[in-house]
């Protein structure tokens, strides 16, 4: 690792201790059957289509124009949005503004320590976030400028990207940036015949590789973001190995789950509006 002159550097090589754990010899298949029952009940007692409890709060960053904090049980993400600013390295006129997204895992948010610089996965997630939010925002209201959106994952226990997109939608509304619609996002993990909405990190990990033979080798992760009122999909991402049948039923599950979240997002924002109206009246 090259020496970072702008930080304090640790020893050249250090290894996570988890690698030397008294070996966990259980096969992935048994691990999976331990956390997901054949009928789809999961380790935390949820059914396969059940979303985790969401806690959502606006206005957590006083220095930002808009901000939101979201918890999906253990997964914790904070997002802040700033006033439009000049687009760096751009001189020609453009009639539409731009959205800049930066998605970052905190160094301590995952099992393995993350480095301070953005890695490929974070860059990809940033691009997906941008894709999701672009069609939700009225970009011609701020021509020549870009709105910065920063998401920081403090604790990753699965579905961090979805949490960040949903929170970013709330933060944008909180910032008073004109939007076409509210946006919500949900993740799905697939393993064989099991389609698990809003997976935990453990479930995500076990859906990276096929555990079942032949016809049931479907596995993968799907992330989908929906604009609520207009029933539009603003972002879709899938990785893994899925058949059309599996994918199409997954999309249906996800759109339904995303619709359910909208109520929560609405509640949170209405609370914010009423609060600020009260302050003005007082």
């Amino acid at each position: 690792m090259p020496v970072d002159h702008k930080r304090i550097n640790g020893p050249e090589i250090s290894i996570p201790y988890q690698l030397f754990d008294k070996l966990n010899t259980k096969s992935l298949k048994t691990q999976f059957s331990e956390i997901v029952q054949p009928n789809g009940t999961r380790a935390d007692g949820r059914t396969s289509t059940e979303h985790r409890k969401i806690f959502l709060k606006t206005g957590v960053v006083s220095q930002a124009k808009g901000s939101a904090y979201i918890e999906l049980d253990q997964t914790k993400v904070i997002v802040s949005v700033f006033d439009p600013r000049e687009i760096p390295n751009k001189t020609d006129y453009s009639s539409k503004g731009e959205i800049y997204c930066e998605f970052k895992f905190a160094p301590f948010s995952c099992h393995k320590r993350r480095l301070h610089q953005q890695d490929a996965e974070e860059q990809q997630f940033s691009a997906i976030m941008k894709q999701a939010l672009e069609s939700a925002v009225f970009r011609h209201e701020f021509p020549n400028f870009q709105v910065d959106i920063y998401a920081m994952v403090l604790h990753n226990d699965g579905a961090a990207l979805s949490a960040a997109i949903t929170a970013a939608g709330v933060a944008l509304a909180h910032a008073g940036i004109p939007m076409y619609d509210l946006i919500t996002s949900v993740t799905l993990a697939v393993q064989g015949n099991h389609l698990l909405v809003d997976p935990t990190l453990e479930e995500e990990r076990l859906c990276q590789v096929p555990l079942f033979k032949e016809e049931e080798n479907n596995h993968g992760i799907v992330v989908l973001s929906v604009l609520a009122t207009h029933e539009q999909i603003s972002q879709f991402y899938q990785s893994g190995y899925l058949s059309y049948a599996c994918l199409s039923s997954g999309i249906e599950m996800l759109t339904n789950a995303a619709k359910d979240i909208v109520t929560l997002v609405k509640k949170c924002l209405v609370k914010h509006v009423i609060k600020s109206v009260r302050i003005v009246e007082d």
Binding site: H5, K6, R7, I8
Partner: protein, 205 residues
């Protein structure tokens, strides 16, 4: 208690507007001052000059530690320079470490003051930095002990030449309030010598 031997050579560099080779005991630095120069558009301040400090370690690229030194040097110089006289310009102070024997920051600050004086930039006051150490046996001295393990704490103070008030303070190790007071008054006495030295150096020039 022995006083520190200081020596300096003003104007040793031709390119900067002011420069000095300064050593205090065994610690030596070279300081150069450029300014006032035109500053970059994004750094220019409407009502005053922008002071920049660059600290270069003896070898290698500057790291986080040098960044802290830079911040101290910049803030101290900013307090002393009559920045309001030079709006929309930059004053750049560059310090190159040559040899470090324990009181690097105070040596760098004194060198910065001399270089500023050499450059002829208007200043509100002079400043002098003094470092003192507490030994393990609780004695207060100016010369850094040979063995670092012997030091219990280090104090660095910067005083202004007008009221002998404190411009900056920086410490290392832990100590009691009484010790801090003692060190402060000791350094305050010593700083007069430093100012004398500055005046003498300038008159010789």
């Amino acid at each position: 208690m022995s006083k520190l031997k200081s020596s300096c050579k003003l104007g040793i560099l031709s390119r900067p507007d002011g420069s000095v080779l300064f050593s205090q005991d065994e610690t030596t630095v070279v300081a150069g001052v450029y300014g006032p120069v035109e500053s970059k558009a994004n750094k220019a301040l409407v009502e005053k000059a922008c002071v920049e400090a660059h600290f270069r370690p003896k070898s290698g690229l500057p790291g986080v530690k040098d960044r802290l030194n830079e911040s101290i040097i910049r803030n101290v110089c900013e307090a002393a320079i009559a920045t309001a006289m030079y709006p929309r310009t930059s004053v750049v102070v560059v310090i190159q470490e040559m040899q470090n024997n324990g009181q690097l920051i105070s040596c760098a600050l004194n060198a910065a003051c001399l270089a500023l004086l050499d450059s002829g930039i208007d200043m509100k006051c002079m400043f002098a930095a003094v470092t003192c150490f507490i030994h393990k046996d609780e004695s207060l001295v100016f010369t850094p002990p040979i063995n670092e393990d012997q030091v219990k704490a280090m104090f660095m103070f910067v005083f202004d030449s007008v009221e002998k008030s404190i411009i900056a303070s920086h410490t290392d190790g832990s100590f009691s309030v009484e010790q801090y007071k003692d060190a402060l008054s000791l350094c305050k006495e010593e700083c007069a010598n430093m100012f004398d030295f500055f005046k003498k150096s300038l008159t010789i020039k």
